[in-house]
Symmetry: C2
Subunit: 462 residues, 2 copies
């Protein structure tokens, strides 16, 4: 019987535990969970704050009872403090503060990531008790919830306009809080080209959010008037006083435990693993937001995503009990709903592709989600990136109204990217069609044909 210890009760750790138990029910699995909320859907937290998800318990993918019913043991409120690699045991501190050793045959570490502070002065000491929040755990969620309930703020500044920042702008707006969203770069949702980010920007503004791009926050202070956010906006000093600040400027890998144990760091200072999720330390595997990601178009990078954590965790769980499955790589597929708009991307954008050495070209296209004659058709805005040398598809970005099946349309591109298809080959795909839901050439093919036409025109003298 294999004794499998897993550190981390989020996507990677639980996926690993479930997979090991599924494949070999004789495996003894112990999951060490730092808080008492294993297997919570952290991605769902913004919808708790919109009020759409109630109670908070429903955010659990599975309850502790569900998990234990699969045969895994959960050690809640237990912090792993060190790994003795040679001795194959780890030290944990339990809820009552006492230390304990747990021996293992195999260990999987899924300690995830921590909120980044982006060098903002004040974040070292200001906390939820001061009205300055991050949103990365259920503990953060409860702290924000309590603050909202007790102080009933009428204004908030959100620092950052990535996925979580945008979702939280929607959540605060739904609660009647006036939101100012600050973004360092030239446009919100910097994971998309600004030509598409601007559509998201417009959606925010239409719903009453004040958006300030090109704004770098340098300091947050508690002042008599509230919380004062200071920075630089388009080269000029910027200051805004508000009742609540939410900082969502990304994450950094939480690597302390593995680094101390001797693991190597790689891209983004995340723990280096091979595609089998091996750390290089004997019997120690890792998965999730704390490790590097194999990317099919970029080799190795740091790209923390819940979907990837699930995959890597599942693979680590399989391999730790004797399997031999390789992680086949991310293509960076992401989607976000912002009010009534959905924005998605997969693969690389122009500058990313250029940096990676591709001869990239990007073309824009607009195509209706379904036949225009049928009621409710809406345009989808596309940007397609491909390699002009071999025509290989490198990436796709798309934005459209909710209901235009953006989330699953990006999956066609993601699947094509995974298979290494050329942009031209997208026209060979036998995609579904019925007038209320598509077109004889689906919008995703109209977009790739537009890339083809644009690059042909650009390369063949007329």
């Amino acid at each position: 019987m294999t004794h499998l210890a897993i550190i981390g009760g989020s996507d990677a750790g639980i996926s690993a535990a479930l997979r090991a138990r599924e494949l070999d029910p004789a495996t003894d699995v112990t999951v060490v969970v730092a808080d008492e909320y294993p297997n919570f859907s952290i991605c769902g937290i913004p919808y708790y704050f919109t009020g759409e998800v109630q109670p908070w318990q429903s955010l659990a993918h599975r309850t502790s009872a569900d998990l234990e019913a699969t045969g895994m043991a959960l050690r809640l409120n237990t912090l792993a403090t060190s790994i003795d690699v040679a001795g194959q045991r780890l030290t944990v501190r339990g809820p009552d503060g006492t230390e304990e050793r747990i021996g293992y045959d195999e260990l999987i570490v899924g300690t995830g990531a921590l909120p980044s502070h982006a060098g903002i002065t004040g974040l070292d000491h200001l906390t939820a008790a001061d009205g300055v929040h991050v949103i990365h755990s259920m503990g953060d969620t409860f702290a924000l919830d309590t603050d909202l309930a007790e102080r009933r703020p009428s204004s908030a500044v959100i620092v950052g306009a990535g996925y979580v920042g945008l979702e939280m702008a929607e959540a605060f707006t739904a609660r009647g809080i006036a939101v100012t969203q600050l973004q360092r770069g030239p446009e919100v949702l910097s994971t998309l080209d600004p030509e598409l980010g601007t559509l998201v920007h417009d959606e925010l503004v239409q719903h009453g959010v004040t958006v300030r791009v090109n704004t770098t926050v340098t300091r947050i202070e508690k002042t008599p008037a509230g919380l004062t956010v200071t920075g630089v906006h388009q080269g000029q000093p910027f200051t805004q006083t508000t009742e609540l600040v939410l900082v969502v400027v990304g994450v950094r890998p939480n690597t302390t435990l593995l680094e101390t144990a001797g693991a190597t760091l790689g891209a983004g200072r995340a723990v280096a693993v091979d595609e089998y999720m091996r750390t290089g330390l004997p019997h120690v595997w890792a998965a999730g937001d704390g490790i590097i990601t194999h990317h099919r178009l970029l080799d190795r990078t740091y790209l923390p995503l819940g979907t990837t954590s699930h995959k890597q965790g599942r693979i680590a769980g399989e391999n730790a009990i004797g399997g031999n499955r390789a992680f086949q790589g991310s293509v960076g597929t992401q989607v976000v709903k912002v009010f009534d708009l959905v924005a998605a991307r997969t693969g690389l954008r122009q500058h990313e592709a250029e940096t990676a050495g591709y001869d990239a070209a990007t073309a824009a296209a607009v195509a209706d989600d379904h036949k225009r004659y049928y009621p409710g058709a809406h345009p989808i805005q596309f940007r397609i990136t491909g390699d002009t040398r071999d025509g290989r598809l490198l990436g796709a970005q798309l934005v459209g109204k909710r209901g235009t099946e953006i989330a699953k349309r990006v999956d066609t591109y993601a699947t094509a990217l995974h298979a290494g298809m050329t942009i031209d080959q997208l026209s060979d795909l036998d995609l579904s069609y019925t007038p209320p839901l598509g077109s004889p050439w689906d919008a995703v093919q109209v977009a790739t044909q537009a890339w083809d036409a644009a690059t042909r025109l650009a390369t063949i003298p007329s």
Copy 2:
């Protein structure tokens, strides 16, 4: 300058003409169109009858003026009556009845299909004037429209419960007509497994449609009481009198012109072509519902679909002017909306896969379209077929409520089928996730993982 003649103004013919003009604007293109409605979306006709699409002119993908603006010449109300292959010319009969010869360098034939009569007595002489309708052209559409307007029937029998039959059941219901839908097989929508067809059946019944499966219609007669439909229902004689009959029992390839010219017939008695759309007759190409279809899992079959016609037409247009593009094959992707339900399939079902020589296994699964905690989640019913020898994905069927992105979810399977992926490899795909629109393992992956678990359990002794 190439003189390209095209027979047929529907999907295949117009796609060919557009592609030839796009790639070489010097090409002289003449399209011979039997009626005066080139490039109409025949798939959209049911939505004209629901009242959702008005006026009928909006069913045109492009107007005649749009088409002529691309530089093609349209010969409307002109019937091609014969092809002189050796002389490279065709004979046409124009709107005034006079015959004319049109010379060509290359000829593309896209004469499509004709409604099948399925051996029903009476269909040889009963027509729209008698209240007996088919729905395959704009002419049929106008005849039915006139009949509905003039007689205002309160009841209708629809013979057939395939895509068009189901859509027309919805259309008649929307107009307050009591519909009885007769289906020869054991369940409606026989392109899906009956386990899923029954969901569509329930949807019809819930919307007031009377459905009679296992009912073979043998005769339609005009009687003093109306139109009497006679047949056999579960081994017993069956008769029903109604005011209007719509027969939608499939199509047969319209091959007379090419057959007379010497072309070979293949699967389904459709014109045989190679993957370049060559008929084997010099300078004669063919595309669309009149020809065989190369299928990636079945080699050659007859599977008339609008999406395929568009692809084949585009390829014929490209190759006729000197291109060298091969049709990469259909995987039989289809989707239909029936009231508030969407049903889709791609690839093969169990019995089709067995017949084709695969070691097929099929597993059912249910998965929510998005995280259940977020409002509006609905289950999607899946059936996945794969080969137990090599794990290759062979087919997928899925049914769910409208709004669950069924149409674009089937496209992920269609793309995976095109790429020849195994069912296990679906778990490697980096599909998009946000709680309002998906799950960390998308429903399409939950379904393939269920197939994997089911076949593993079935093959490994416990």
